[in-house]
């Protein structure tokens, strides 16, 4: 494991705390009707998200899915415009046109989250293709779930990335369920082992609640991609604490309570806090990170609250680059 600068370690914890605080607040706001529609939280999966995003540079590309807030936060996108987007305000990162499911912040390489399971995987693959053709040293990463791992387009994309040696990372967030469906009931074999069929390395991070374990695995994949040695499939084992989406109430108990308890004991933020304390971070400093994250989320909500809703005419902008082409 590489020695990481204290600033990097601190930043990892801060980003995980940001995601936790942001999603906990978003969950409340959905239940109070403050956020329209629903959201899918990454609570419990922070190590997997931040370990991956921090292994990328700001200039690198990423696409994501419906569990969508952690990815841009992990990539360094400011919280205010993200929160404003969830609420549907004019100052949202997508001007209120995308919402939770379609966050994108091109300024940090976030090419967009997707409401269609599996659909954004080839987008990141295409970004990797342009890095290759333009020879600009950037890499691309696609986040997708264990459910999306059974979409055909993943394998079309892996094949293309493999045969073209694209600087690409396929990152499977295996939280072991696709909505109510346990992964093992719909998935033949192991996801990471499917990489072998495409002649690319496939790695499973069993310790997916350990941000450093994820960071190390993805960093290796990034180094390989940047060196021109092609794509990697990384499967990270993790767990979501909340229901599939906020407000969703399912009649059947598809996850048992013991399982959840066991995962709660491996909370990524608690684990990393212990690690940081063992590395000489003071309790005060660690509490300070927590306070910072909460304050940032408060500020993001205040920013959203103070922002206007979009002018109605905005609904008719940005279909094409020229307004005349729209009917």
């Amino acid at each position: 494991m590489a020695e990481l600068a204290r600033d990097t370690l601190r930043e990892m914890q801060l980003r995980m705390l940001r995601i936790r605080a942001f999603d906990e607040r978003a969950s409340k706001m959905v239940k109070r009707g403050h956020i329209p529609g629903t959201v899918h939280t990454s609570i419990g999966q922070e190590a997997q998200v931040v370990g991956a995003t921090m292994a990328l540079g700001t200039g690198d590309y990423m696409s994501g899915n419906h569990r969508s807030h952690g990815h841009p936060i992990g990539k360094g996108s400011p919280l205010g415009p993200l929160m404003a987007e969830l609420v549907g305000k004019a100052t949202g990162v997508c001007k209120g046109k995308g919402g939770s499911l379609h966050l994108a912040d091109f300024a940090v390489g976030s090419l967009g989250e997707s409401g269609i399971v599996g659909s954004s995987i080839p987008i990141a693959n295409g970004a990797a293709l342009s890095s290759k053709v333009l020879n600009n040293g950037k890499v691309a990463l696609a986040f997708f779930g264990d459910g999306a791992a059974n979409q055909g387009v993943l394998y079309e994309s892996m094949n293309m990335a493999g045969v073209w040696d694209l600087p690409m990372i396929f990152l499977c967030e295996n939280n072991q369920y696709a909505l109510s469906t346990p992964a093992h009931t719909v998935t033949s074999g192991n996801i990471f082992e499917r990489a072998a069929g495409f002649g690319m390395p496939g790695i499973r991070v069993e310790a997916g609640q350990d941000v450093l374990a994820v960071y190390d695995a993805v960093s290796e994949a990034v180094a390989r991609a940047r060196a021109g040695d092609g794509p990697t499939l990384v499967e990270v084992m993790t767990y979501r604490y909340n229901e599939h989406s906020e407000g969703l109430k399912l009649g059947t108990d598809y996850r048992n309570a013991d399982e959840r308890e066991a995962w709660l004991k491996k909370d990524p933020i608690v684990l990393f806090r212990q690690y940081l304390a063992s590395q000489g971070f003071s309790e005060e400093e660690l509490d300070g990170l927590q306070a910072t994250a909460l304050a940032e989320v408060d500020a993001a909500v205040a920013f959203s609250d103070a922002s206007p809703y979009p002018d109605l005419s905005v609904a008719f902008d940005d279909l094409y680059t020229d307004k005349e082409s729209a009917a």
């Binding site: 590309y61 696409s63 949202g92 990162v93 997508c94 001007k95 209120g96 046109k97 995308g98 379609h102 994108a104 912040d105 091109f106 090419l111 967009g112 997707s114 409401g115 269609i116 659909s119 954004s120 995987i121 080839p122 987008i123 990141a124 693959n125 295409g126 970004a127 990797a128 293709l129 342009s130 890095s131 290759k132 053709v133 333009l134 600009n136 691309a140 055909g152 387009v153 079309e156 994309s157 094949n159 293309m160 045969v163 073209w164 902008d317 940005d318 279909l319 094409y320 680059t321 020229d322 005349e324 082409s325 729209a326 009917a327």
Partner: protein, 342 residues
């Protein structure tokens, strides 16, 4: 000026676009070997103008047979600095990539509040009229006209094929080009220098005063032939080729029908929710009072395409079926019963 075929004009436009901008790449199945005739100089790899030799494997990329993955990757590449031309060969294969067209290509710019631009061209050939049976004979452009965010061209002449493709490549929005194979070998004088035909501007293929025929793709030469036929009987027919279906040059159509008072719309796509239906509705909504006769559509019927040449022949508009429709709107007696789909 030099004589070019429709296919040759597309090849010329691709070469010009590749020369003009290093960000333009061509990806698709079998493009390296120039199987479809738009990425080469001649029959052999050593021929002058072979794209692989000229531009190299980095910019001319054979793909696996993975339409969904190809279309998605082209979209992602377009969002990050390339300007891909995707050769999807047959337009029936676009269905394989429907999710990427509808959910990513068409929606990303809008959903992301204008952050994405999507400078990518998807070319495909409509292989109808060639006895290839139902799987290869589709004319699917109306389905895509129903998806806001896509631009759609359907050139009917070599010159338009060249000039529209240059504009499509230069567009920062995604453009789908539907090219009728029946037109591939048509030839005309085309400027060998660079030129651009703007998107969204119709062409008057023939001027006239009594009837407007709006014709699309391979129906354009059929409509012109019908017009010449009717001219002998003293009927003056104007033929409008929209060339671009999205954005549609509404004004050109409305101006012509306002002048003639009669409209026939001819296209090779299915009848229900086709481009002809849209154009008819537009005219009925906007200038109903100018109409002297009901609008008539001449389209393919809502039927799959049969293989047997004797059966397939009757499926698309011809000069005879278009002429029959024109006769009806000007109250001329029908010449003979026309069996085909009107």
């Amino acid at each position: 000026m030099t004589v070019m075929s429709y296919l040759g004009a597309i090849g010329a436009a691709q070469r010009e676009a590749m020369d003009a901008d290093e960000r333009v790449i061509i990806i698709g199945e079998d493009v390296e070997a120039n199987v479809y005739g738009t990425t080469g100089g001649g029959k052999s790899r050593s021929d002058k103008g072979d794209f692989l030799q000229r531009y190299g494997k980095n910019r001319i990329r054979n793909t696996p047979i993975s339409e969904e993955g190809i279309v998605g990757a082209a979209a992602g590449a377009a969002m990050t600095g390339l300007r891909p031309i995707v050769d999807l060969s047959y337009s029936s294969f676009l269905y394989m990539a429907m999710d990427q067209f509808v959910n990513q290509v068409a929606k990303n710019r809008y959903m992301f509040g204008g952050q994405a631009s999507m400078p990518v061209v998807f070319r495909s050939a409509m292989f109808y009229g060639l006895n290839t049976g139902a799987h290869h004979s589709d004319r699917p452009y109306p389905m895509f006209m129903n998806v806001p965010g896509l631009k759609i061209i359907a050139p009917a002449t070599p010159a338009d094929a060249k000039g529209l493709l240059r504009s499509a490549v230069d567009s920062d929005d995604p453009v789908l080009s539907f090219e009728a194979c029946l037109l591939w070998s048509t030839k005309e004088d085309v400027d060998e220098n660079e030129f651009w035909v703007p998107l969204g501007v119709a062409r008057t293929a023939r001027e006239g005063t009594d009837v407007t025929v709006v014709a699309i793709s391979s129906s354009v030469p059929e409509a012109v032939a019908a017009a010449e036929e009717l001219a002998k009987e003293g009927v003056s027919v104007e033929v409008i080729d929209p060339r671009t279906l999205v954005p549609l040059d509404r004004n050109a159509i409305l101006r012509s029908v306002a002048k003639t008072g009669r409209l026939v719309v001819a296209e090779p796509a299915h009848r229900t929710c086709g481009a002809a239906a849209e154009i008819s509705a537009l005219v009925a909504e906007e200038i109903f009072d100018s109409l002297k006769a009901p609008i008539i559509r001449v389209t393919a019927p809502d039927m799959q395409i049969p293989f047997s040449p004797s059966l397939e022949k009757q499926m698309y508009p011809t000069r005879a079926t278009i002429a029959a429709a024109i006769r009806r709107v000007v109250d001329l007696p029908a010449l003979q019963p026309v069996a085909a789909a009107v």
